[in-house]
Homo-oligomer: 410 residues x 2
Amino acid sequence: MSRIVMKFGGTSVADLDRIRNVARRVARAAAAGHEVAVVVSAMSGVTNQLVGWCQALSPLHDAREYDAVVATGEQVTAGLVAIALQELGVEARSWQGWQIPLLTDGAHGRARIDRIDGAALIARMQNGQVPVIAGFQGLGPDHRVTTLGRGGSDTSAVELAAAIGADRCDIYTDVDGIYTTDPRIVPKARRLPRIAYEEMLELASVGAKVLQTRSVELAMKERVRVQVLSSFAEAEGCDLPGSLVVDEDEILEKEIVAGIAYSRDEAKMTVKRVPDRPGIAAAIFGPLSEAGINVDMIVQNVSDDGTTDMTFTLGRSDLARARQTLAAQQGQIGFADLVSDAQVAKISVVGVGMRSHAGVAATMFRTLAERSINIQVISTSEIKVSVLIGADYTELAVRALHTAYGLDAA
Amino acid sequence: MSRIVMKFGGTSVADLDRIRNVARRVARAAAAGHEVAVVVSAMSGVTNQLVGWCQALSPLHDAREYDAVVATGEQVTAGLVAIALQELGVEARSWQGWQIPLLTDGAHGRARIDRIDGAALIARMQNGQVPVIAGFQGLGPDHRVTTLGRGGSDTSAVELAAAIGADRCDIYTDVDGIYTTDPRIVPKARRLPRIAYEEMLELASVGAKVLQTRSVELAMKERVRVQVLSSFAEAEGCDLPGSLVVDEDEILEKEIVAGIAYSRDEAKMTVKRVPDRPGIAAAIFGPLSEAGINVDMIVQNVSDDGTTDMTFTLGRSDLARARQTLAAQQGQIGFADLVSDAQVAKISVVGVGMRSHAGVAATMFRTLAERSINIQVISTSEIKVSVLIGADYTELAVRALHTAYGLDAA
């Protein structure tokens, strides 16, 4: 007997049949004697439609009204799942953010959870009731509905699991776990039975879109064991095993490299011939930061004539705005030219085993060199090595690295 | 400078263009210096879709979850209208039932408003903000969302107008006022500039579907002046005049007959040869009432052999259930047969002037007799005469009566 949070994403509740399927799975867990709380997203497509309406009416719409509109998607699903559960004889009740209450800060559209009062939910669960909670939403200090930003239902689920002291937070989605890399590129990719929080965090942030980054950070901080599993596949009336995201110590057979991630949403920009003087980095990246543009890898070339080239990567969709921002500062910064390239991809090798094993980066560079893939930028962290390469080489690089690190399935 | 509630129904907010149109009208009223509160319905079609989902998942769904799901339609519209108003430079803010709070009883799915705390809304209106309120919903004593039943947004608007002491409650709809009868049947029907609460109540309950009956009752009780007007028609940037529903004393030139209403949703049932003894009416109508079947007109024939025929009218959709209910009681009641007819219509002549003018009923009977229309059942009240006739004669009867009472437009 455990206390479990079960979270279902948009594709898992996309229509009435899938909602019935969700109810069946929840009923099964309840019948097995578990105390279950459910967190749901909006039916897939609904949030996009609501967001589209807000934008069409006003490109610079008020975030408080945006939240009031967009949060309704999850409320509909929560009510429908509660009804479907009741139809199966399971006592269930829907909860909106303001009812729990799930208190957030006042940052409408991208709020952070401050506190969840789990007492009422726990009391009901102990009496055999299944609370069905509208994800992605909370109550702000202004007594208005807030939303947590896209993908926020994962965060709701993990925070809820921490608040009610759940043994596990199961994230049901349209994939059946975390893979060593994208199986669409590498058919031999393997599902990872277990993955460490830190690894998941790096994989999430570099393009494996299974879990929202923020929810993994939270799970790590609150030590919530998260399981990613499929809401579609099942065998003989049982869930198929997924991937468990847990503390590093819970992983006995550690691989040196857990997975290979890639991101095509990257662009590279070089600020040519800037004066090589103290404060120049601040002069370039200060205005970008003020414009809300996130910069990722940064490389500064060695100079010999008193000027240098500064290269950095950023999200492809920010490229035009970054160019505009820097061009407006050309006088103050004093650069000769801006050169950008959107045809780049970032490939990352991730694994907590790197901490104790040397040679991971060397293997990466050698493997890419053997395929004549030119590395444009390199960055490393304790458990990750990332390189920027030409976008055309993405699949070739991912496949070669997957083999090189011994990740291919037998 | 007045304080006005403006209520917009589902067809008036059916898409983004219409929502912009609503915002334009509200902005115009605000610019004219009025203090304005807005009440909105769900975009047309949305409520039906949400209701349909609940029913598909569980025919006997929980009313609390139904309310949680269905109330979202109005929340979306309230947020979108607030955004559209802000885009026009009008300070606006959406309000859900629990935020005001608009407190109801606990009758989920058909709740009644207990109390609206208008203080916060008035304060904001006095500071130039336009509150946009999700109609049709409130907060129950169980701290859960309630809905007021179909058409409840009119009721929300009238109650709100009373709570904030509004000078007028404007109900914008897809018709431009209350007519002497249905213009689709009588092209010469005239818009009534003013109509008394009592008249509107009779017209609303007999088939003129412009205002929900409950909202008119409330308006009469709270003495809220209600204006019905078109959300589509306008002339030179101004609203066209609609119909004002007011106290009888505010109508100077009273017509004897204000309008002719009809309803085709009627059926007639005769219980043949029941024993003519005390308590027989209770034996028949008690079980029907317990089954939730509303009976309207009742006629008992004179008997001479110790038995009598009892005829009554009821909603057509209740016919099968009524037959079942009475058949199950045949032993106790002791009737010979049940005869029913769904091919009937109720025609009503309504007007507060009847109180002081005799001969209204006589004119009705003579007019119908001249067209050879047989009257099956008659019922009268202080300000109404209703007759049941064959459904095929509906249009003929309405047209003839409209002319007979001098209601035709010049």
